[in-house]
Structures are given as structure tokens and as C-alpha cells.
Symmetry: C2
Subunit: 234 residues, 2 copies
């Protein structure tokens, strides 16, 4: 059964956005009485029947509501955007499929790009949530800078990691991440973090970690980190 996404949904009636209405009525050709599922991206899954199949604002009658329990861990990823927005878009699609909580786009000294529009990333997140049946929508924050992020009090109680290119550090993320935690992992830009930034992160309690023997591109490193933390919590 298709899954639709509608923010701020509540029983007894859900009105779908024009994009979602068009998809349901024009593309999938569903009719009055057909059943669909809707999530609000906040852990609620609504089982519905179509009551008014309007391709601009379809109305759904909620039959039942299911609350999907959150995981007992949270994966937060802070990354310096790549020069090519495409690479960030596919990373966001893939980490949404695999599962993460929050992405922070941050400017660091060697960032190749200090700003990235999040609209397209948001769309990738929503379509990947629908595709892979994720009922809690991960969020994206733009416009952080490295120094503010490493000093932020938002991450108290987190396991904090910094991944960078250095063949000498031996702690594999998989071995140091403990199950059931909140994690924040910093991934450097294509030019890597500046040594002074790495020192600053150490002072703020970040532990250096390796993601394996390979030299990974920025976006591949982000994906590998999320995947490993999911396996830690399998």
C-alpha cells in the first residue's frame, strides 16, 4: 500500500498537499474508498480511506492511528557540503533510507561551499522516507559553522566523533560507538579539516575515528558512518 507524507496530520480528517494529492489521484488513480497510509514524519502512521479524491486537495478519513516508537539511539551527522550539490543530495537520500536523525551542514576552514539550499535536500528526505517506510522524518540544519557546532551545548551526553583522513589513528568508529547512544559525527570537507580544527574538536571532547582503510569522498564517508552506527545498533 502506498505511503504518503503530510505534516501536521491529525485524525479524523487529513488533507493532502497538492503534490501528494496529484500523485495519489492522477498517477496512482486511486478512488473514493481506496485505502492509503499517511505519516506526519513525527512517528504517527495513519491508516486512511479516501473520502474526497480531489487532485489538488484530497481528503482522507482516518480509520486508525499507529504510533511508531522511536529508536533508542540517534545518529547526528555534521558535514561540510561538497562542491557538487548532487553528491549531497544522493547522500541525503541514502542516509534517509538507512536511517539517521539530524544532518548539520557546516562551514569549516577548507569548505568548498559555505551554503547549500536545503529545499532540494528536504524533498529527497521526504521521498526516501516514503520509499523506505521511515515514519520519523530526519531534519536538516544549514548555516552552522564548525566552531559554533563543536562548542554547542545541544550535544551534551552525546558520543562525539571526528573523522578525518589520517592513516595513523586506529579507532574504528564501529569499535568505539556504544549501542543505544546519541552520536554526533563530524565529517570534513574534500580538503579535510584544518589541523587547528581537529585540535579544537579534541578539546571539546571529540574522539578521532577511522571509517576503514579506504580514503572515502566526503559524501561516502557520511554514508559509511551512518551505516556503521546502524549496524552497531542492529
Amino acid at each position: 500500500m502506498p505511503l504518503f507524507f503530510q505534516e501536521n496530520s491529525k485524525a479524523p480528517t487529513i488533507t493532502l498537499s497538492s503534490d501528494e494529492s496529484k500523485h495519489l489521484i492522477r498517477v496512482l488513480r486511486q478512488k473514493t474508498g481506496d485505502e492509503v497510509q499517511v505519516t506526519d514524519g513525527e512517528g504517527n502512521l495513519f491508516h486512511c480511506k479516501i473520502s474526497n479524491p480531489d487532485p489538488k486537495k484530497t481528503e482522507l478519513a482516518v480509520i486508525s492511528t499507529e504510533v511508531i516508537e522511536p529508536d533508542n539511539f540517534e545518529i547526528h551527522l555534521a558535514i561540510s557540503p561538497t562542491k557538487s550539490p548532487d553528491r549531497m543530495e544522493w547522500m541525503v537520500e541514502k542516509i534517509t533510507e538507512i536511517g539517521f536523525s539530524k544532518l548539520y551542514l557546516m562551514k569549516s576552514q577548507h569548505s568548498e561551499r559555505s551554503f547549500l539550499k536545503t529545499e532540494r535536500l528536504e524533498k529527497k528526505v521526504i521521498s526516501a522516507c516514503k520509499q523506505s517506510k521511515q515514519y520519523r522524518k530526519p531534519s536538516i540544519e544549514s548555516d552552522w559553522n564548525f566552531q559554533d557546532l563543536i562548542k554547542s551545548s545541544d550535544f551534551e551526553g552525546f558520543q562525539k566523533f571526528i573523522a578525518y583522513v589520517d592513516e595513523n589513528h586506529q579507532n574504528h568508529l564501529f569499535d568505539v560507538a556504544l549501542p543505544g547512544n546519541k552520536y554526533l559525527i563530524l565529517i570534513g570537507p574534500e580538503g579535510d579539516f584544518d589541523p587547528s580544527e581537529i585540535e579544537d574538536a579534541f578539546e571539546q571532547g571529540f574522539a578521532p575515528v577511522s571509517l576503514g582503510k579506504s580514503r572515502l569522498r566526503t559524501e561516502t564517508a557520511g554514508l559509511a558512518a551512518v551505516q556503521m552506527l546502524q549496524v552497531v545498533n542492529r
Copy 2:
């Protein structure tokens, strides 16, 4: 130092292809006497000096040759190509960065595409090898069909797995893969394997595995599998 790729390289002189020559001389503007590294994709790393900087066929003098030992494990992935060739291309780029041995493109009952040109995939492999300093080029075979592949004697002594969408099977790939092995893992098409194919694979000694709680797209599943097997062998 930049890494270049040239098949069949041998000391004392390496002649780069026109693409590689152009990149070295026109793009990177290297000159006679500058040092470069070349791999033949078969585990040999050549440290060279430019002896003749011709943008069509640059000649290099080999100073020393290093043989990079192969890993003690091999990751073989058999996958039904996705409808969009882009998705296969990025998967190939990413699994090359992370590290794998061989990819088999196979036709199964619900394949959306029975054939995919491998030229573009080969290019992705080579550029990802150069990017991530992989000295052994993974290979790609097209035109397999599912039944021939599962019955092939090429995989004797391998740990053989089949991943498909089923929330009930409990063996996580990470927990059943033993370090230091050769692995073959089958990933189904977007419409998944047919139940009869899954039965046939069981008969040929394939074990069902889960890649985690999420429903992953075909290409994400391929990448997740390779990543997990790398972590098993960290």
C-alpha cells in the same frame, strides 16, 4: 601526489593513455622530471618520473615498483540492475571507494532491465580507484542470469548469501559473515526476487540475510552489503 591508471604497465617505461596523458600534462600541468604514481589495477604501484610530457602519450620512467598485497577476503556482489543506469553508476563508484572484488550484473525474473552497458561503469571504477587509492581494480561482469549464477562452480568455498525484502528473517549479514572469507551476496531487483528463485538459491547453499531494519533500494542494499563486509574485516 596524483595517482594514474594504466593497464599492463611494466618497468622501466610506462606510456600513459591519451586520457591520462591529457589529464597529467594539460590539466595538472606537470613537466619533465615531475613525480607521479601509476597503478596497473593489479596490485602494482609504480613510482615514476615524467620523461616525455606528451599530452597524447606521455612517457614515464619507473623509479621503483611496489607490490600491494591483496586483502585476505573478497567481496563479490551479484545484483539485478536498476531501471535507472545512474543508480548503478553511483553504486559502483561508492563500492569501489569502499572496496570490493567483483560485480555481476544479473537478470532475474523481476529484473527491470536485462542489460546494462558496462563502459560507463568501468570508467566510474577507474576514477574511483584513483580517487581512493585502490591498487586492485574491481571487475564487472555483465550478462549473467540468476539460475546460471547460483549454480556456477566459480563460487566453491565462498560464503553465499541472498538478501531480499522479508521482515521475518533474522540473520543480519554482519553477524553471519566470518572474517577472512570470500563472500558472494545476491541483491534482488526493485521488484525483489521471485519466491521460486529464493528457494532455488537455498538449494544451492545460499543463506538468507538481512541488511537491517530499513527497506533499502536495490543500489543502497548493494552498498550496505559491501560496507558491512568491510567492517567485518576491519
